[in-house]
């Protein structure tokens, strides 16, 4: 699972997909996750990173990350190479 390579993500949480022309905005947790995904981190690694930084438990976070990735897939921002 990879974030599409051409996609531009800024630190401010603005995402631009040059292939579709669509832009998106992210909240801070979303920005962080998408940047970790871009660094090829696994979901487990992302979870550890977020839990160490934010006031959230594993169960809640796992549920939210799965849902978030589903949204990214819907927007065609993720290449699934499984």
């Amino acid at each position: 699972m990879n974030i599409n390579r051409n996609i531009a993500i800024s630190d401010t949480g603005f995402v631009f997909d040059p292939s579709s022309g669509d832009s998106y905005s992210l909240n801070p947790v979303g920005t962080e996750i998408i940047q970790l995904l871009k660094k090829q981190k696994t979901i487990e690694e992302i979870q550890v990173e977020i839990v160490s930084k934010y006031e959230v438990d594993d169960v809640q976070l796992e549920k939210d990350i799965i849902d978030f990735i589903l949204t990214l897939e819907q927007y065609n921002l993720i290449e699934n190479n499984e």
Binding site: V29, Q60, F68
Partner: protein, 450 residues
């Protein structure tokens, strides 16, 4: 290092022509406390969901309304509209403030008597009055506001049996320039029916006409409509004076003042469009004072406003049960408050505010109640902060009609607490138990488990 506040990750497509987060923020600050009492603590102690009533707000709003009218008109009397909220604790706050009782059924009438209201401080309105109810009201010297000719004939018949002179008013309906025109209650002004009914009462020596009543509608945002209503009733009063040389004691303009809840389909929020008590008072007082009524015999002005007095005084607190995604990708949030407890969600776009801090990020959300019924929708489409299971929220302005029109449907009704003037919390209605509901049921023998 202290951890950061977590909100679920969010990605939002920026759609052309659609506002972004700066355009759609509808609430600024969380409501973490109600009169310095923590929302979380209230829910922990009294359970979720929970109705919270503020005695302080009730009294404050009442005083504002009273002042608005009393500074403009010499004789003013409020009568608390029982159907809006007939919890005894609420009614008694109003009675302490000097309100009479305005009731529309035998049940409400008995409740008022039970609250210690004098019979001659009760206005009995509406089409639902049995002979037994009328008899009681006549004997207690209550004011009966007649709805139709059948009721008038019933009273005439009862008077022969009771031998007491009933105090009567008629309800008048009329065109005040608003839509819809309520013509199902009372006698019509324009077609002469009201005048005919008044003549019948005034020509009957066994009856006493004391007042004129109208109630032009509900959630009326045009103060002009009240001015029209007041002028028409004043005109009737003058005609009565001219023909029968009788001064009526009061003109009752009913209720219908809007609260600051926004109706579905309205473009601007009600807090920006609804008239203040001062504006209503100005229109009504002006119409009466500039009428042909004799200055030395000005009738008392009675007001039965309910919604505008109580709505701001109560809150519904609750908890998020689940966040899920709908088939079309929209977000939905399930809360433990359904239309069973928030009946007014059928016509208002209620303001829902998180009880804990939240960021400026929002998502298009549908808010559902917990009932297993498709109609259980609290907000169809709201840009809402990112809450998670277990988070709390506050729905404000729910004091009117929810604690009377609620449904015992699927589940039991929760505790209602009142915060008194000293900040003490009292349970004023206990949460229901299974026994409360099943005690009045009877199971035929052949259906009982052997």
């Amino acid at each position: 290092m202290e951890k950061l506040i977590y909100e679920r990750p969010l990605i939002k497509k920026l759609v052309t022509g659609m506002p972004n987060k700066f355009g759609m923020k509808t609430v600024n600050e969380p409501i973490s406390h109600i009169e310095n009492i923590s929302v979380k603590e209230l829910l922990e102690k009294y359970g979720s969901p929970l109705y919270v009533i503020s005695e302080k707000t009730i009294r404050k709003v009442f005083k504002t309304a009273k002042r608005a009218f009393e500074t403009r008109y010499p004789k003013v009397q409020f009568a608390w509209s029982y159907k809006t909220n007939y919890l005894n604790s609420v009614c008694n706050v109003y009675h302490q403030e000097g309100s009479w009782a305005e009731v529309v059924s035998g049940f409400e009438y008995d409740k008022a008597i039970g609250n210690g209201v004098d019979g001659n401080h009760i206005l009995f309105n509406g089409p639902d009055k049995s002979e037994a109810d009328l008899t009681k009201a006549i004997k207690n010297g209550s004011y009966i506001h007649i709805d139709n000719f059948d009721e008038l004939y019933t009273i005439v018949k009862l008077v022969d049996e009771i031998k007491e002179k009933p105090k009567l008013a008629i309800r008048v309906n009329m065109d005040t320039g608003i839509f819809p025109q309520w013509d199902r209650f009372g006698f019509n002004y324009e077609n002469g029916e009201a005048w005919k009914a008044l003549n019948q009462i005034l020509m009957n020596e066994k009856l006493e006409l004391v007042g004129l009543h109208c109630h032009i509608g509900t959630y009326i945002m045009k103060t002009d409509a009240y001015a029209v209503a007041a002028s028409k009733l004043a005109e009737l009063a003058v005609r009565i004076k001219n023909k029968f040389n009788k001064n009526i004691k009061y003109i009752d303009l009913g209720g219908g003042f809007a609260s600051k809840n926004t109706l579905k389909g309205a473009y601007l929020p009600a807090s920006d469009t609804v008239p203040s008590f001062d504006e209503y008072a100005e229109a009504i007082s002006n119409a009466l004072l500039t009428s042909e009524l004799e200055p030395q015999h000005m009738p008392t002005l009675i007001l039965e406003t309910g919604r505008a007095l109580i709505d701001d005084s109560a809150y519904l607190l609750g908890t998020v049960q689940a966040i899920k995604r709908l088939a079309d990708g929209r977000r939905s949030m399930i809360i433990d408050v359904g239309v069973n407890l928030l009946f007014t969600a059928f016509w208002y776009e209620h303001t829902i505010t998180p009880a804990q801090p939240f960021s400026q990020y929002t998502e298009d959300t549908v808010i559902y109640g917990p009932l297993c019924m498709n109609i259980d929708v609290i907000r169809e489409n709201i840009n809402f902060p990112l809450l998670k299971k277990g988070d709390n929220f506050v729905i404000n302005r729910i004091g009117a009609y929810n604690m009377t029109q609620w449904l015992q449907f699927i589940t039991l009704r929760p505790n209602i607490v009142m915060i008194d003037l000293e900040g003490k919390v009292h349970i004023v209605r206990e949460r229901e138990t299974n026994e409360n509901i099943t005690n009045s049921e009877r199971l035929p023998m052949h259906l009982q488990k052997k």
